[in-house]
């Protein structure tokens, strides 16, 4: 066994994955290097076809790499699959797993048995988690009658049954409405925060979600990691300066009086807004070397007799970072590289027997 207590939660070295496909093989991963620390909330952000799902499938032992190595808490994804499966779990967005004929409680209990919980512990654990995620009213409802949001909550409970050390979440809020998605995000944060050392790997193409949840993010496109860092670090890549929009009641000597201050790179008038019928406000766009220069500006304004009415920092988004790195936005796809979900082969081919649906 190659795992050690100090092993990274995820360690990926020069990982490649090529799918046999016609007319030509599809390269899904092209030399991924990645390290995720135990206890970290790590995000893979990228458009459809970027290779996120392929990477998560390799890490969850469902897919072999074509070359390179990947380890989860020190266990090799090729040869130590059983150990990895004992300490991880996974949930994907739009997951329809299980059997519609069962109730929520029964379905979850069935899955608990796959992780070795005793019969009694299985029922107890299921009930605790059902209550924890607010599915109490649906406890004895058939799975086939759940709404999309309820179903995803149930899937999250399934993923938590074995109390995983590492939780892989593949677009977990895909297709959910705003409220349901928020519920899922809060649930993930609550679970992770309850115990030190729990690690989450989240793939998403929702930038706000990655920004809100992840301590570090890797931006992925065409099977490559383009950048890794905290959301703030990534944003600084595209905007090294601090940009503020300032509104004051008066600025007698104009914005130029601010531009001469130490640490101020530029100060330009922005559109002035009406404060009330008598007075007008003065708006200034300030570009500072860093946030520390702001105190000098505030002091100078005070000396000039100006009253600050509003001050807002202008932040770049992760989409700005992506555009800077890739040269296109998330919506401007070049055509999918590797399928992430719901490929054409999903087309219904003949119904299985009705009874088979009952499990």
């Amino acid at each position: 066994m190659s795992a050690s207590i100090s092993a990274p939660a995820i360690e990926v070295r020069d990982l490649h994955r090529v799918y046999d496909a016609k007319p030509a093989p599809v390269v899904a991963l092209r030399g991924i290097d990645l390290e995720v620390r135990p206890g970290e909330f790590f995000g893979l952000l990228g458009p459809n076809g970027a290779g996120k799902t392929t990477l998560i499938k390799i890490l969850t032992t469902l897919l072999l790499p074509s070359s390179g190595t990947a380890r989860v808490f020190g266990f090799d994804v090729v040869n130590e699959t059983t150990q990895i499966r004992r300490i991880m779990n996974m949930v994907a967005g739009g997951e329809q797993s299980g059997y519609g004929i069962l109730t929520v409680r029964e379905q979850l209990w069935m899955f608990s048995q796959f992780y070795g919980l005793t019969r009694g512990d299985g029922w107890r654990r299921v009930d605790e988690l059902i209550d924890a995620v607010g599915l109490g009213e649906q406890r004895v409802q058939r799975v086939s009658t759940l709404s999309t949001g309820e179903r995803q909550k149930m899937n999250m409970v399934r993923g938590l049954l074995n109390d995983p050390w590492i939780f892989f979440l593949d677009e977990p809020t895909l297709g959910l409405d705003v409220s349901a998605a928020r519920g899922i995000r809060e649930l993930i944060l609550d679970w992770k925060g309850a115990v030190d050392g729990r690690t989450v790997l989240l793939t998403t193409h929702y930038m706000a979600e990655a920004d809100e949840l992840c301590e570090r993010i890797a931006i992925v496109d065409h099977g490559r990691i383009l950048a890794i860092g905290t959301p703030a670090e990534l944003k600084r890549r595209v905007q090294a300066e601090s940009i503020f929009r300032l509104e004051v009641d008066r600025l007698d000597h104009g914005p130029g009086s601010l531009a001469r201050l130490p640490g101020v790179l530029s100060a330009a008038a922005a559109s002035a807004g009406e404060l009330d019928a008598e007075r007008q406000t003065v708006a200034v766009n300030l570009v500072l070397e860093d946030d520390a220069a702001l105190s000098g500006v505030v002091g100078a304004l005070s000396g000039l007799g100006s009253q600050i009415l509003a001050l807002r920092k202008s932040e770049p988004t992760l989409e700005d970072v992506f555009v800077e790195l890739v040269g296109r936005g998330f919506d401007a796809q070049e055509g999918s590289n590797a399928p992430e979900a719901g490929g054409p082969d999903d087309a219904v081919q003949g119904e299985p027997a009705v009874e088979a649906h009952s499990g």
Binding site: Y19, L64, Y115, G122, D163, I166, A353
Partner: protein, 292 residues
């Protein structure tokens, strides 16, 4: 939140290290867990009463009337009633074992099975056990109703052997189901058509409605390859001791040996094919992953 507090395993390394007993018990619990939806479904979906008792019963009745019309020996009515009862198991194997993994894949269950720490063989054992329990109820219903209605008189000398043959037949039959489950998944989306293609020919060569030895060489081949054919043949001989049975039919004791061999071989093939299936799934990404 107390539900989110960790209970066991102080480190990932500790949590990943299981004893042999833990491994065994997890697989055993998996069998029970996977059998659960089938047993529960039996009570929840009442439509099976119509599809799996009434329809097979009608098919059985048709043969009963034919045998009566041609004045066949009375035991032949018993032969066809046993065949009718055993139909429930064959239908279960072909519909709910053979094409089940294919269906599990399309639902996204298969990748969850592969990603869990139990053996996929345990999942199939669970399907088989649940299916057996489910089909037993249906088989007993057909047997009891048809026996009462058509006045079948059994002549059983060797109860123990008959019970043993039945269990061996089930072992071999569900072993075949496990093999077919892997094969159908590997062959892909033709599972539905393959299933339909197999039903009637297997009915015929298994001799569900007549002693398979009547088929001559074809019957001999069936007895040596199809668990249902050999099991039915042995059960009929044991349930109607002294009945006029076609010459050349192997004795029940010989058929027991054939069934034992079939069980061992089929379970070994099932285990091998499941391991191969998982290797293929991980190598190609085409079997466990829904979009592939």
């Amino acid at each position: 939140m107390s539900a989110f507090v960790r209970r066991e395993g102080g480190s990932p390394l500790e949590s990943a290290t299981w004893t042999s007993r833990q491994v065994f018990m997890t697989n055993l619990r998996t069998v029970g867990g996977r059998a659960y939806p089938r047993v529960t479904g039996m009570f929840r979906e009442k439509s099976w009463v119509f599809f799996e008792i009434l329809l097979p019963f009608l098919a059985t009745s048709a043969f009963v009337f034919v045998y009566r019309a041609v004045e066949a020996p009375r035991e032949y009515i018993g032969f066809v009633v046993i065949g009718g009862a055993m139909t429930a198991f064959w239908l279960n194997v072909i519909w709910m074992m053979a094409q089940q993994l294919w269906w599990e894949k399309s639902q996204g269950n298969l990748e969850l099975y592969f990603a869990a720490p139990m053996s996929i063989t345990a999942v199939l054992f669970g399907m088989a056990f649940g299916g057996f329990v489910m089909s037993s109820g249906r088989a007993v219903a057909v047997l009891v109703v048809a026996t009462a209605l058509y006045g079948v008189e059994f002549a059983i000398d060797q109860w123990l052997l008959l019970g043993g043959v039945f269990l061996l037949t089930m072992s071999a039959l569900y072993g075949l189901g496990m093999v077919l489950a892997s094969l159908f998944l590997m062959w892909g989306r033709e599972a539905w058509h393959l299933t339909q293609l197999m039903i009637e020919p297997v009915y015929f060569v298994s001799g569900l409605n007549f002693p398979v030895a009547r088929l001559g060489l074809l019957g001999a081949v069936a007895i040596s390859t199809l668990p249902l054919a050999v099991g039915l043949d042995a059960m009929r001989q044991l349930a109607f001791a002294g009945a006029p049975y076609p010459e050349g039919t192997p004795a029940p004791e010989v058929e027991v040996l054939i069934l034992i061999a079939m069980t061992v071989v089929l379970l070994a093939i099932a285990r091998w094919s499941l391991a191969k299936l998982e290797r293929m799934a991980r190598r190609d990404g085409k079997l466990s992953i829904r979009w592939q």
